[in-house]
Amino acid sequence: MTAETAPVGAGVSTDVLRKWVPWAVLGLGVVALQVTFGGAGSFPAALDSFINDPLDSLGDWIRANRRSHALFTGFFNPLTDLLNFLIDGIESILLWLPWYVVVGGAFVIPARVNMWKQGLLAAAVLVYTGLIGLWAPTMETLALMSVAVMIAVVLGVPLGILAALRPGVERFLRPILDAMQTVPAFVYFLPLLGFFGIGSVNAAMATVIYALAPVVRLTTLGIKQVPVQSVESARMFGSSTRQTLMKVQIPMALPTILTGLTQTIMMALGIVVLAALMGAGGLGENVFQSLSQRRTGRGIAAGLAIVAVAIVLDRVWRSLANIDPLSRAPRKWLWSGIGALVAAAVIGRLTGLIDFPEVWSLRLFDPIDNIVVWARDNLRWLTRPVNDFIVAGIIVPVRDFLTDTLAWPVLIFVTGWACWHVKGWKLALFGAGSVAVIGLIGMWELSITTLVQVMTATIISVAIAIPIGIWAGRKPRVEAAMGPILDALQTIPSLVYIIPVVILFTVGVVPGIIASVLYAIVPGIRISALGIRQVPEESVEASRTFGATPRQTMLGVRIPLAGPTIMTAINQIIMMVLAMVIIAGFVGGGGLGFETIRALTRSLFGLGAEVGLALVLMAMILDRYTQAWGERLQPPTGH
């Protein structure tokens, strides 16, 4: 934003005009459109069959040709077989090895770089999965995730390096990566299902697509962050481009690259459960069973096992990221550790002591079910009114207003105006155009149903997350205390904590909204706390030397300076809520989420594409709008 200065002499009236004319245009436009089109009926879904029919026939064609056409026999099927072979192979090795060897390996890999505690933790959480009787599905999920992470590395790291070295490649990749991170993962489940068939492979591919962006981005960042002097010194000694890359840039970027991998692992866990929907099996299936049986305890048990997989993968990668040559355990210890593991494997296989002994089982968690049932029976006085208020007081009237009372051109106009107001004509055209497309493909009412839920969840999340975030940003101890809770909310699959919510509130819109809120407040709190913490201490001190009270400092310095970051937090909240649309669909939220599931389970390609397109457009409008708003809060820079 460039600051425009009003010409001297034009005076106050220009300023007033500039301020009020847009609002007057908005008001007049809404009234005019409403009067003209009011009662004109629902959106003409003119493009519905245009998308639906060809894609449905594509679905039919895939079904008919999967075994015969060259595209499948020559490419997708061999690729599927290869990946299946990898996943199954790793899984069989993990199950073939005696359990204590796997546990030992999880310890030794981090311990070899002196990360003893991390190694112990990784080993301990694996023991947990065995103790509760989930060893086999845990290994299944571990194998799937390992392959997904490997593919992400094989594809992502070279792409990231290329993007760092060639600005053209980066310009080309950036919008694609942006899209990969904005599009909710379940949108591309169906096409993957078409290409790779039911099973682990499409789940792995979905994970890769969803989680590839951080690897590419952080690789690019890592290579670019290598100090110019180090690269110049390499060139000065006559290194070729390849030598500079292999001997200087990649080794120095490695820690950043592997941080990207850690992020990839965390993102990938987010869809482990959904992967079960695509026939991947593993721990995700246990979670789904628990949901359908309303067994909170078992759901939590399986959810914790998924977290255990995350911890193991994360600690192992983090230890691989540790190339700090100073923290290396003595080689003697490493070899004796490996030796002990090999010996244990041989002895274990010979004596047949392979499977985890049955100590406890999932029943250990059954008391939790009783607590939830007790809460359901005794908290009705609270849950009922909350449920009724959200449904009858907010969701239904707002939805009816938007779909029935308001004429659809009004909504297009308002979207365009709002986009123009924060950014300009380009975004206005994009916003209005996207809304029109959503209507034209026949997704108007479903999208509004989803939009109302998304906005409700967003408003609740913002109201909770931003104040807590600001508070936590000021008080490091508060933030430290909240850390484990936030970690748990972010890592435990959302389907797990939706189980008690469903039991408490019964099936409907509300559990989906509550689950979305629980999921979305975490980044909201974290990012806004970060924004407050990043305010330069000097600015705060300057304000205090002028005698500002803590409140004045907060309102006048910290919050304005953290403004853009807080906007990012809101943007993230919306993205998270959108990612939960499908989860909401599982528990009776209706809207686009439910249609997605219907399309997935019945392989309705046309419907899947339309729902996906509507969701992507909705996500892109909301994303760009909030980002543009954040840019506006940015203090103007030099030029």
Binding site: P227, Q229, S230, E232, S233, A234, R235, M236, F237, G238, S239, S240, Q243, K247, V248, P251, M252, L254, I323, P325, L326
Partner: protein
């Protein structure tokens, strides 16, 4: 060493931006940097620079930040291509070389010491020092031996197995120096190598460099923004401003005879009595002139001042062989010190 000079720069220009030709034209017609920037969007980094560096000479380029000295050294090393002009190393033009030919030259003939060291944190000190040899394709055993030798030379005996980040700033720069010396280059570049160091460490490193140069007689191009460092280290000094050289000369020439007000500004605060010698201030005279008292030509003004002040008549200045080369009196000294 076939050529008289190690390094020869002729009319070197460096223009950053998309319209270098137009910018060059404007610059030749006398347009200022600011005019060129607003007219073409181009920045003139190096403005028609010409100089020679003799074999074994330490040539210092001194300028403030933004003067283009860093750009100049990168142009000489061909880390950035020049817009116009020629740069000859031992009679061979670097500007017309292909990238692979340049790689060869860099491997064998030149190396650089960087301001922020530019060491590789993932390699031991020994492997950092051996990096250039590794790129040359030397065998592991041989390059380790050579690296140990050079570490000894720079006073880091026994530190080879440590990692750079375990060393102090001064020691890290010794590693940078050792790395540059290991490949036995004809030409050494120093890009403000000591400016990131504490003042005391900086003085140590300067002394160290003087000591090494006493033994090795390398050809050195040294960049600095510190005039005191320039006169301490440089056989000759070039003062750079806005991409162009204001003056080239020995420290004494710059002090006694600054070409521009800008140069005079730097020489103003120099402790002249310490820097100048009798030879710099004397009036030349024939060998047969006889005065009862004499001073050595290489003696600093500071050291001869007491004996000069008590005499109203001039003293003879004699060279190392005892031959009289000039006369000096207290008025001449006063004239120079006053300035």
């Amino acid at each position: 060493m076939a050529n008289a000079s190690c390094l020869e720069l002729k009319g070197v220009w460096k223009v950053f931006g998309t319209k270098p030709d137009r910018a060059l034209e404007m610059a030749r017609q006398g347009a200022s940097r600011a005019e060129i920037l607003s007219g073409t969007g181009c920045t003139v980094g190096v403005h028609d620079v010409t100089f020679d560096v003799d074999w074994g000479e330490t040539f210092v380029v001194m300028g403030l930040s933004g003067s283009g000295k860093s750009t100049l050294i990168r142009c000489i090393a061909q880390l950035t291509p020049v817009t116009e002009g020629s740069i000859q190393l031992d009679g061979t033009d670097l500007t017309s070389m292909s990238e692979s030919e340049l790689r060869g030259v860099r491997r064998d003939k030149m190396s650089m010491v960087f301001q922020h060291f530019g060491l590789l944190p993932h390699r031991r000190v020994l492997d950092n020092v051996a990096y250039g040899l590794e790129i040359q394709g030397m065998k592991k055993q041989d390059r380790a031996e050579r690296a140990l030798e050079v570490l000894d030379v720079v006073g880091l005996d026994g530190w080879g197995d440590h990692y750079p980040q375990q060393l102090s700033g001064g020691m890290q720069q010794r590693v940078g120096l050792a790395r540059a010396l290991a490949v036995d280059p004809q030409l050494l570049f120093f890009d403000e190598p000591f400016s990131a160091l504490d003042p005391l460490i900086r003085r140590d490193m300067q002394d160290e460099l003087l000591r090494l140069q006493e033994q090795m007689h390398r050809t050195i191009v040294f960049i600095t923004h510190d005039f005191a460092e320039a006169i301490k280290l440089g056989d000759r000094i070039a003062i750079m401003k806005d991409g162009a050289l204001d003056q080239i000369g020995t420290a004494a020439e710059l002090i006694t005879n600054p070409a521009t007000d800008y140069v005079a500004e730097f020489t103003k605060d120099v402790p002249k009595a310490k820097v100048l010698t009798a030879a710099d201030v004397m009036e030349s005279a024939n060998g047969d002139l006889v005065h009862p008292d004499h001073v050595a030509a290489s003696a600093s003004i500071e050291s001869i001042l007491p004996s000069l002040l008590i005499r109203s008549e001039p003293m003879a200045v004699v060279d190392a062989d005892g031959v009289t080369v000039g006369i000096i009196d207290r008025r001449a000294v006063a004239r120079v010190l006053e300035r």
